[in-house]
């Protein structure tokens, strides 16, 4: 193994979660489980778990706003390639998200809310929204070079 590689093998793990706030704990557990297999420091692991949980929370809060989910599921896929680029994919069947309209609030305008997207952007290198391939509606991709 190249000494710079953060993992012995390529990692690609995915899991589905029911779209509700009670699933966020499971999302964090899954993320922590995957990051245990990657050689990065604990602070970075914690940040990545936060970014993933915030993105999942955005699906619950925004993509499914005013939607009765009927146990709809979202899928999260965490992949680490040989080049140590971490890619985290989020797939959901909520309302289509226009990535161009996703903005965090002005950080100097202190008020509750609007911080999740700011945290994601602080932690990750890139945030890309794509149209999901069937059956998914939205596909969010977060990437970070480890």
């Amino acid at each position: 193994m190249n000494e710079t590689n953060k993992s012995e093998n390529k990692i690609s793990e995915k899991r589905e979660f029911i779209v509700n706030s009670a699933s966020l704990k499971e999302v964090r557990s899954f993320s922590r489980e995957v990051f245990e297999k990657i050689k990065i420091d604990q602070d970075l692991k914690d940040e990545l778990v936060l970014a993933i949980a915030e993105a999942a929370q955005n699906i619950v809060k925004h993509a499914y706003k005013d939607i009765e989910t009927n146990n709809d599921k979202m899928e999260i896929k965490i992949s680490l390639g040989k080049n140590d680029e971490l890619e985290i994919g989020f797939f959901d069947k909520g309302k289509p998200v226009d990535g161009a309209k996703v903005r965090h609030r002005n950080i100097d305008d202190v008020k509750p809310g609007g911080l999740g997207t700011f945290f994601i952007q602080q932690i990750m290198d890139a945030v890309v929204f794509r149209e999901g391939e069937k059956p998914w509606i939205n596909h969010l991709i977060l990437t970070k070079q480890l």
Binding site: E54, V110, P112
Partner: protein, 99 residues
């Protein structure tokens, strides 16, 4: 999340424990807001909070702002390393009362 509240004079100390996310913030608000509305000085002890996301940070901001509005204060006590990191990421270390 679990919690404990202790009272001493006009100070209410809320000891939060566990992970604070969107799923439990309503519970945290229901606990903290009435104390502020009763004009108590509220100390929120975060020693045993291992994780807090943007929803939890929003409760801290809302509590702080409500306290200013009613003329009391909220002080964050024994902030765990992981919570402090998120507070700093949100650039709130100069805004909230940290002890």
């Amino acid at each position: 999340m679990t919690y404990k509240v202790s009272e001493e004079g006009n100070i209410s100390t809320v000891f939060l424990n566990g992970e604070i996310d969107m799923d439990v913030v309503d519970k945290a608000k229901e606990l903290i807001m009435p104390l502020i509305e009763a004009k108590k000085e509220v100390h929120i002890n975060l020693k045993d909070v291992q994780y807090m996301d943007s929803s939890g940070i929003s409760v801290l901001i809302e509590s702080h702002q409500k306290a200013l509005e009613v003329g009391t204060k909220v002080i964050l006590k024994e902030i765990s390393k992981s919570v402090l990191k998120v507070i700093m990421m949100a650039k709130l270390e100069q805004i909230l009362n940290l002890d």
